[in-house]
Amino acid sequence: MVDLTSNCAGIISPNPFWLASAPPANSGGQVQRAFDAGWGGAVWKTLGTPIQNVSSRFGGLNVGDRRAVGFNNIELITDRPLETNFAEIYDTKKKYPKHAIIVSLMVETKEEWKDIIKRSIDAGADGLELNFGCPHGMCERGMGSAVGQEPSVNSEITSWAKEYSTVPVLVKLTPNVSDIVPHGIAAQRGGADGVSLINTIKSIIGVDIDRFVPVPRVGGQSTNGGYCGAAVRPIALHMVGQLARSPHFDLPISGIGGVTNWRDAVEFILLGSTSVQVCTEVMLKGYRIVEDMIEGLSEYMTTHGFETIDDFVGKAVQGYSEWGDLDLNYETVAKIDADACIGCQLCMVACHDGAHQCIHPDPNGTRVPIVDEDECVGCNLCKIVCPVPDCITMAEVDNGFSPGTWNQHVAGQAKLRPKKGAH
């Protein structure tokens, strides 16, 4: 039996799945329903001086008939009275003592931080998350990503929080920076117990092409919002991985960004996250997605012989290196399973128009294309476009060359195989 208990920076939850600070964690009723559904923790929707939201505030990025592959919002922090929020936090924590409640905070002055931290802890918070990430609206008022983008401000406010907090403090980082590492280190310098990332990405989700205004449209105007959802996961994984492998950064990470299911969560854990936060998929599908996440994660851990989350936190970090350290002599070629092939020839047109022109029609006239393995560079494009799972595999080629990287090559220490498809 595997143990899903998560300990992220000292915040203990029965499983690593937390609701991210967002609409699904806006109220006690919601968080309690989420806990009933199986969520291990919840980062309460950011508290601060309650704001007023615009009416139209979400936008979805559809690809074909896939709805909301990406998502953005121009909603701000809580618009509910602080007293109400704290009363509900207290009530929820009392009813669900084993679940983690992390309270997300965003205020301006040191006094305000002191006050809101005290009230949060009094309400029963297991941890705090400093919202240095929100990239819309609040940053115009000098908060959110305006803080997260300035390492010195980040460090300073983090140190205030640490000064006043008796519970673990996570700093939520903004991805709207060119390199995440200095910002993680700034939080570390400020004394943070952990970081959570990514917050949303500055974005315009679309343009109303008939009304000539971006969306979500607020009357005749729109504004940039925070981008999230499945489509941002690659960006989030990169930033989590960057911090996890940095020799100067050693805080626990709560991973956020496009997690839709247990597989996505495992990816975040393997790149260094000890808990995983989810918002968009819950907004699209509801709390009940967690049932599959728990089952899938348990089965995954059993299959791989992992007994605890810590057994595989960061297990893929060692596999993330610089391009110059990749083995240029590693070679694959595409193999098409003729029995599985349905003859759509998408691999062929992709190879011809988008790659190296090495997949050709069968001279015998069948619909199954032929790979010219002497020309195939092993780029994976055919496998990516193939609609049949596992029809195309990328087979390793024994070319007789020992591993050799670019860095070794420029140091005169590696012999590289002849280039393919480069004529």
């Binding site: 003859g343 759509c344 062929m348 047109v349």
Partner: protein, 434 residues
């Protein structure tokens, strides 16, 4: 041209395949893989770029989608309804190879073309006047497709038909649960609206005009006369009332209100698609018991399997390996079909005679080939009743092309459309070379 009357027996039929809503079309269109060198295109006699028209539905470029369809096949609206897509494009969808439901190409094509009709979009204009004129004999799909293509090239066109109903079997023969006559008439008008196509009805070769006269009038001729009357059976009792050719019967109920109240049991003789159509239509018209009588086995019948399955679901009965040998009657009206059972070598089995009761018998065992009608054109070759044509639909008589059922022996509307267009392209290049 005669207007299609409002009161017609065929109007009791609903569409067998329901039209897509916008939302349904979007979902289905988004499933299309956009195959390279797509098998569905190859399976379409008119070579419509199917992945392209479907992609345009998915992006809400419905006008572009319709243009792609009509550019390849001006009869795209009717073909969307009447094509046996299960054996053509849909049958070749690669999803079949994956065990996944194939893309419903016919329904998507119907979506785009219906929107185009509804919105009144027009895509093609007549070309600059070439000064040449082409006569087209027979006003069915082949001639309509040819004439439209010829007009795009600027040639004047005159379509002749001995009937006053235009659209050929698309108007008079298509099963009404696929398309009703008024829809075909609307298509004819849509095609004629390109302008410059004169339609002369009541013109019969050998009666009101001659091939020579038409050849003198026009620079080129296209022969699209289709097939002739139902083949009947010269058996004892064949002159009894209630025995009729299936094609003639279908035309009657499509264009008129016909009384069928007294018909309690009907027999359709034949194993082809016309026979299956007639069976399904009689069931739909309310005949309680309809039996298909075919001399071969169920597996051997030439009609489409998917059509027969639908017929069976609707309650059709089959009498296999049964050969009619006489019609029984009383008071001048048919009461039954006397049949003999056939063995696997199609030999009658002695002592197997029996009577299948019927108060209506439709004969769907073929239609006359009209080769003889065309034989008056010197050089035109006729083979087994069909006009012999080359790969450009040219006959052996210079300046005369042919297409549709009279040349292919009786295929689908889409084949007629393809052949008419192919002939038109050849005619245009021949006229320009003159």
């Amino acid at each position: 041209m005669t207007k299609i009357p409002e009161q017609r027996s065929e109007t009791v039929f609903d569409d067998f395949k329901k039209a897509y809503t916008h939302d349904q079309a979007l979902v289905e269109a988004n499933r299309c893989l956009f195959c390279n060198d797509a098998p569905c295109i190859r399976a379409c006699p008119t070579g419509i770029d199917i992945p392209q028209f479907i992609r345009k539905i998915a992006t809400d470029n419905v006008k572009g989608s319709a243009r792609t369809i009509f550019d390849a096949n001006i009869l795209g609206m009717s073909c969307a309804r009447v094509c046996p897509v299960e054996t053509l494009c849909v049958g070749d969808c690669v999803y079949n190879e994956m065990g996944v439901p194939p893309i419903q190409i016919g329904k998507l094509q119907r979506y785009s073309t219906d929107v185009a009709y509804e919105k009144g979009w027009r895509f093609f204009e007549a070309g600059p006047d070439s000064g040449k004129s082409v006569g087209l004999v027979g006003a069915g799909p082949a001639s309509l497709a040819a004439a439209h293509e010829l007009r795009r090239a600027g040639h004047a066109c005159t379509i002749y038909d001995k009937r006053d109903v235009v659209g050929g079997l698309n108007t008079t023969g298509v099963a009404p649960y696929k398309m009703r006559a008024d829809r075909s008439a609307a298509e004819v008008q849509w095609i004629l609206d390109i302008g410059g196509i004169e339609v002369k009805t009541g013109v019969a070769i050998g009666e009101t005009t001659t091939w020579d006269e038409l050849r003198r009038k026009h620079d080129a001729l296209f022969v699209g006369v289709g097939l002739g009357a139902d083949t009947l059976m010269s058996l004892p009792g064949a002159d009894l009332g209630g025995i009729e050719g299936a094609v003639a019967f279908i035309e009657r109920f499509k264009l008129q209100q016909i009384p069928l109240e007294g018909v309690k049991q009907a027999v359709v003789v034949g194993g082809g698609n016309t026979a299956i159509d007639a069976v399904r239509e009689l069931i739909g018209l309310g005949v309680p018991k309809v039996t298909m009588v075919y001399r071969g086995t169920e597996a051997k019948m030439s009609g489409y399997t998917h059509e027969w399955h639908a017929a069976k679901q609707e309650g059709a009965l089959g009498a296999w390996q049964s050969q009619p040998i006489a019609f029984e009657g009383a008071g001048g009206k048919v009461t039954g079909v006397r049949c003999v059972r056939m063995d696997d070598h199609k030999e009658p089995i002695a002592g197997s005679e029996h009577v299948i009761a019927a108060d209506l018998v439709l004969l769907a065992i073929g239609q006359a080939k009209l080769g003889d009608l065309v034989a008056g054109l010197s050089g035109v070759q006729i083979e087994r009743g069909r006009v012999v044509v080359d790969e450009h639909q040219a006959t052996g008589c210079e300046g005369v092309w042919a297409g549709g059922d009279c040349a292919n022996g009786g295929k689908e509307v889409v084949n007629a459309a393809a052949e008419g267009k192919r002939a038109a392209l050849a005619i245009d290049s021949w006229l320009r070379g003159k």
